[in-house]
Symmetry: C2
Subunit: 345 residues, 2 copies
């Protein structure tokens, strides 16, 4: 069964939820074009989330996907945060700003309040990153009628998700931009490329499998379908679209030769995520041992990023991007969706 058949929509394409660079506007454009638009909720407060969900009601009966992170929030660790800010001190000094107060997690995991909001809006699909939420929350979401997707970065994770209540699996190949969804084995050595991951997950589980990572155009869509995918999830290619909120420095990096050089970095949040290599990643290395646990690392970088971006500088910005930015085009998301859909024929 294809994703289109499963969700009763025209196109077996999901626009990947990309927290921080898009909101309901992009999701609406994609769902209106016949694919599945996604709203990333990981960085939204409950009130902002409801505001965005209200905006999505313009879609009427057309389905959309609501995405949450479901990590465990670590205990506060003031020592680790202080050590990390000490490491960043030269940068604070360079930009003439003070280190921020060592508080603020940055990203909330899915919780009861969010589950209750979900059940008021009943999105066709709820997707999770970093595993699945607590069983009672998962059951609540499913009981409200939403289909549940989650990302697997290994075959073992796909099997775990299938055994623990997911309705479909996103096979997130190593090429994908943004946060790796890994949650069972945190060893990055074990992460697989899409070409190896996708067919092995298709063989391992009986659920619909959505391919993600490196898919940038119609040929990529067709190739993923040939490897057994029920549909594809495309993120990076949408980052230059008119309806994305991608920052000016991020857009400039995506459109430059710099986009050929990405790495998995923990610098911006504490969890490995793929972004374009910039000054901070070069100078500290992409994954220094001193970075606090996800999402506690977020607060220390935020003011550096804000101050630098105000000067048009991407030195401290998370420039999320997959390994194939060749599909990025400054066009309407609906037009990009139609281009990708040519690979479904």
């Amino acid at each position: 069964m294809t994703l289109a058949q499963w969700l009763d929509i025209p196109l077996s394409i999901i626009q990947a939820p990309m927290a921080g660079v898009q909101g309901s506007r992009l999701a609406i454009a994609v769902s209106q074009a016949g694919a599945l638009g996604s709203l990333p909720a990981a960085m939204l407060s409950p009130s902002l989330l409801q505001q965005e969900l209200t905006a999505l009601q313009v879609l009427g009966d057309k389905p959309y996907n609501l995405n949450f992170f479901c990590h465990q929030t670590p205990a506060d660790n003031p020592t680790a945060l202080a050590d990390w800010q000490a490491r960043l001190l030269p940068y604070y000094q360079e930009l003439g700003i003070s280190p921020p107060p060592a508080t603020g997690a940055g990203r909330m995991p899915f919780n009861q309040e969010m589950a209750d909001i979900v059940c008021r809006y009943r999105p066709a699909v709820v997707s999770f990153h970093f595993g699945l939420p607590a069983p009672h929350l998962l059951q609540q979401v499913k009981a409200c009628g939403s289909k549940v997707l989650s990302s697997a970065t290994t075959v073992a994770e796909a099997r775990w998700l299938a055994a623990n209540g997911a309705d479909g699996i996103i096979a997130q190949g190593l090429e994908a931009g943004g946060h790796r969804g890994l949650f069972l084995d945190m060893e990055l050595e074990q992460q697989l490329g899409t070409f190896a991951l996708l067919p092995q997950i298709v063989a391992a589980v009986k659920l619909p499998v959505i391919a993600a990572g490196g898919i940038a155009d119609a040929d990529g869509v067709a190739a993923a379908m040939r490897l057994g995918a029920a549909g594809v999830q495309v993120g990076t290619a949408y980052l230059l679209c008119d309806e994305a909120n991608t920052s000016a420095v991020h857009r400039a990096a995506l459109a430059s030769p710099q986009a050929a050089h990405t790495a998995l970095t923990t610098l911006f949040t504490g969890r490995p995520a793929r972004g374009i290599v910039n000054r901070l990643m070069r100078e500290l290395g992409p994954r220094p041992a001193a970075v606090p646990a996800f999402p506690l690392a977020t607060a220390a970088i935020a003011p550096l990023r804000a101050a630098a971006e105000a000067q048009g500088c991407d030195d401290f910005s998370p420039l999320w991007c997959g390994q194939n930015a060749s599909g990025c085009q400054p066009i309407a998301a609906g037009e990009l969706t139609r281009q990708l859909a040519a690979g479904l024929l």
Copy 2:
């Protein structure tokens, strides 16, 4: 133009050269089945190479590929070797053997003597790993009528190979088993998965591009062709074939769940190569800083491997394997080739 058209053979498939686990027997079986068999020459002395080339003459007019490494041999570094052997001392003691003399490079780069042998046998294809040989040797090989392939692991490497005389490019995705072909940027963070690497190389060069990495069955072949490949190179799937010389411990690992866990390791030769995680990789980590430069690291491990394998133990063996071992079958290589070829239709 497909690989089949380019070489005037029936099938656009190359059996990947796999030094240490196969010789002319596998190459002959694959070429006789209509694809391009490969003889890995990197670990052969000139006399053994000629013996294998003589065996290949049974193919008559059918083409085959002769593969060489073209690294720079580093200067001897007795201190580094002694440090490395000291690190391995507990293992020598455990197996009751003496550390070997700290000599012997293990793998010779392509040189004048080999170029002269190539020109006596005139293989249809000569492929190189780790870049290209010196210009006069490359010119000699091409003047003798061989088409020259080399592996690219980044788009920049593909452009470099095209500008420096390669006739075709092997796009070696991160999923591939054995040695990474990287030669320009030695930073593993920059290595791309096949799904991202292949179409970007196809777009960047005007030469035929062969896809390698993660291709294990007919659907994988079809998907790679859809991403613009002129043909595919398949290695791992051939490792259990009757005509391969794969060791008993290696075969057992490939057929076990252990094969799901691979990593890029420098432990066995000094250069990163993908193999199944075994005890040595777990205990020392896959790429400890103390490993001597390629190929000087080879000698220190060899006696450990021999002693352990004699006891049926794979603790010290390089268990080369890509990220998708699902295609491994204990069948004749000709039969595997025909199965893969179904993806070309």
